[in-house]
Amino acid sequence: MSELALVAFAAARDSHAAPREAQTRAFASFAAGFDERAYRGELARRGLRWLARSDRAFPPLLASIHDPPPGLFLRGLGDGELLERRCVAIVGARSCSDYGAHVARSLARDLVRAGVAVVSGLARGVDGWAHRGAIDGGGVTIAVLGCGIERDYPRAHTALAAQIAATGLLVSEYPPGVAPAPWRFPARNRIVAGLCSATVVVEARERSGALITADLALEEGRDVLAVPGEITSALSQGTNALLRQGATAVTSADDVLEAIGVPPARRVDPDPPSAPAAAALAALDNGAGSADEVARFAGLEPAAAAAALVELELAGLVTGRSGVYRR
């Protein structure tokens, strides 16, 4: 039985490509008329690849889950070997806070520097920031789509998808032409969790898709880590609940690396910042602050504080969003 034929059959019927579908008579007649070579040719023409589960390159971690996909469509310049790297999923709320965006981005940046690939779902919010962080860190990132492989969904992330494709991979179990549907996203999450040895939840509300990913990871016996948040924030309820249930708390990328047994990257000390920048950096030791607070703690004029914070931003030591700066 051809897995590709099964996937194409399921897509045509808008159903899930479950193995029992292959037993039906409808599939038998579909498979009889399916020209696999032509289909593969068409894929190649569009710059897409097909990696069947039976293929030797298919990631063993993903193959070992309860309901593995029949195969994966690949898009991007990264080679299939990427999927064999140690992968960590970073997932979370679509409407994340600035804190969540910052954490997702800096975690991803630090993880890729240790040689780990960052996997996420190309959604808005935490997913998007995790991909961006990995690209910032000059690393590899994999986006798992919940729709046909040729689509950039959400549309707002078209440019990001192109960036990911330039060095990493976009993968999907759905062939071109499959529209995004609500039920496909939880199905996509099993691939996100399945590809990775650990899943980090950055921010999640009480009932969040990210928690589905965490549950799937737990079911497969993978590590689940959560970033602690304020107990008063609705955006942290899901992650704090995970922590209560025994998930590992993430305080830095090193916690994640320790969980998956990867040695942390040797820190490359950046050029020592100028004196005002060092003072500004020290002012952020006690948590995030506005430019005015940094200026006051560091004893700088507003103009000098602004220049110092930009210097730190350029050095990648500080990020600023909505006027609040964080280390």
């Binding site: 506005s290 607070e293 507003p302 103009a303 220049a307 210097e311 909505s322």
Partner: protein, 486 residues
């Protein structure tokens, strides 16, 4: 019997010569006004008749025809009352022959013959000067305004006074316009703003470089308060600019009576329900809009994303050219509109973003919709963008900030330096900017904006070159990525 007076009709801000001819004929007593006069102008009949009788002059029992020439120019408003009355009086020989020569007149008559001021007296006076009139008869309140145009005003309170003047019974006017004090509008002071040092600094830079400024942050943190204080730190208007602004405000009827030149840069803050015509100018007879009233001053668009898209798009022409063109069947009218734009907005539709005490409930879709209202093209017009988080309570208990006056001195000095020689960037400053373009989401246009702002910062620091620290500070006021659709 025929008599003529000179007056002016306004087309946009431009005065056009209008001759008021009064002709008296034998026949059934009647009074007709011809020459494309609008309703307010037609009603002059009643006011002129009552005014003349109230001044204990004689209303000629003749067939009176008044022609407003040129007949193809639309005349509107009540400013023709006085010239019509004078023409009728001269035609009925109640004024000495030839006494009207060299004079222009403008003003509305009350039923008891008193004279009321009309908008646009300054423009009318400029027209009078151009058409060779030495003196302009006007309402007493308009006297100082008329004097600004270099025409000698004949300020009168009553029609009878005007008649006495023309009969030589009364001396030429004692009031000379240069005694009228310049207007320094009461602008709120920066000392009222506590904390918000970064925003104050950005305001100073915006003032020094005439940069458009966008303030983004949660509600109630003083964005509007800061913006309202911008005119107070801008340099006072020079003679030419002051005359321009005074003329515009005179035409719009915004000038308080008896005042001289407007020296404070104007400040206009239209509400977001204002129509496109109200903001950029328009109407059947084109009137200046808010952008023109803000000429040489500040236009504040509070809650920028709440403004309808067409209004925001209509701002692009004035922001680019400094003028607005209003096209009508009768021709095209160009209003000046060189203003400094200040926008305020929240960081998200619910306003909670940037406020540590409240959770933001906005869905990504809502955020995108909110941001999409501001086109990239419009965001690109803001040289400096400042995201203001909510200050902590302790910061607000701080001492009052620096007052406006010393800030204005620094701004004025920086403007003078920028007018002299524009500081050039050092090689290190250029290198920093290039590195920033690589590392930060900064477009080519964004780079040009940062370069502009860094020149202003250098000028404020009295530096001869743009140093890296000036570029670094300018980068802090770049358009942040969170305002773009993500």
């Amino acid at each position: 019997m025929l008599a003529r007076t000179l007056t002016h009709a306004l087309v946009g801000l431009e005065p056009r010569r209008v001759e008021v001819e009064a002709h008296l004929q034998r026949g059934v007593p009647a009074f007709a006004i011809v020459g494309l006069a609008d309703r307010a102008c037609q009603e002059a009949k009643e006011r002129v008749r009552s005014g003349i009788t109230s001044a204990e002059l004689e209303w000629p029992r003749r067939r009176i025809t008044v022609n407003l020439a040129p007949a193809d120019l639309r005349k509107e408003g009540s400013g023709f009352d006085l010239p019509i009355a004078l023409a009728v009086l001269a035609a009925s020989s109640q004024l000495p022959a030839g006494s009207l020569a060299g004079h222009a007149a403008v003003g509305e008559l009350a039923l008891d013959g008193r004279l009321r001021p009309v908008p646009g007296a300054l423009a009318a006076a400029e027209g009078a000067r151009r058409n060779g009139a030495r003196r302009l008869v006007c309402a007493a309140e308009s006297g100082s305004e008329v004097a600004l145009a270099g025409v000698e005003p004949v300020p009168v309170r009553h029609l009878a006074e005007a008649v006495a003047y023309f009969r030589g019974e009364r001396d030429p006017p004692p009031i000379r316009g240069d005694h009228a004090a310049d207007v320094d509008a009461a602008v709120p002071d920066l000392a009222d703003v506590r904390a918000q040092e970064r925003a104050r600094r950005a305001l100073e830079i915006a003032a020094a470089g005439a940069h458009n400024l966008l303030l983004a942050g949660p509600p109630g943190i003083g964005k509007t308060m800061l913006a309202r204080r911008l005119p107070g730190i801008l340099p006072r208007l020079d003679d030419e600019a002051a005359l321009e602004v005074t003329r515009i405000h005179s035409v719009a009827g915004l000038l308080p009576p008896g005042t001289g030149l407007v020296r404070t840069p104007p400040f206009r803050a239209p509400h977001h329900t204002a129509s496109t015509a109200a903001v950029v100018g328009g109407g059947p007879v084109p009137r200046p809009g808010e952008v023109t009233l803000a000429h040489r001053g500040v236009l504040l668009l509070d809650e920028l994303p709440e403004f309808p898209r067409p209004v925001l798009e209509a701002l692009r022409q004035p922001l680019e050219d400094g003028t607005v063109a209003v096209a009508r069947v009768g021709g095209r009218i160009v209003f000046p509109a060189r203003f400094q734009l200040v926008g305020t907005m929240n960081l998200c539709p619910c306003g909670a973003r940037g406020d540590p005490t409240v959770d933001c409930n906005c869905t990504p879709q809502r955020m995108d919709r909110y941001r999409e209202r501001l086109s990239r093209a419009l965001l690109d017009r803001f040289d400096a963008v400042v995201a203001l988080p909510r200050p902590r309570g302790s910061e607000l208990a701080a001492a009052p900030g620096e007052p406006s006056a010393p800030v204005r001195d620094r701004v004025t000095a920086a403007r003078a330096r920028l007018a002299g020689s524009i500081p050039a960037p050092t090689a290190a400053a250029d290198a920093l900017l290039t590195r920033a373009v690589e590392r930060l989401p900064l477009s080519g246009r964004g780079r040009a904006r940062v370069a502009r702002v860094s020149r202003t910062i250098a000028a404020l620091a009295a530096a001869s070159e743009v140093a890296p620290e000036h570029v670094a500070e300018a980068l802090a006021y770049r358009s942040p990525s969170e305002l773009a659709v993500t």
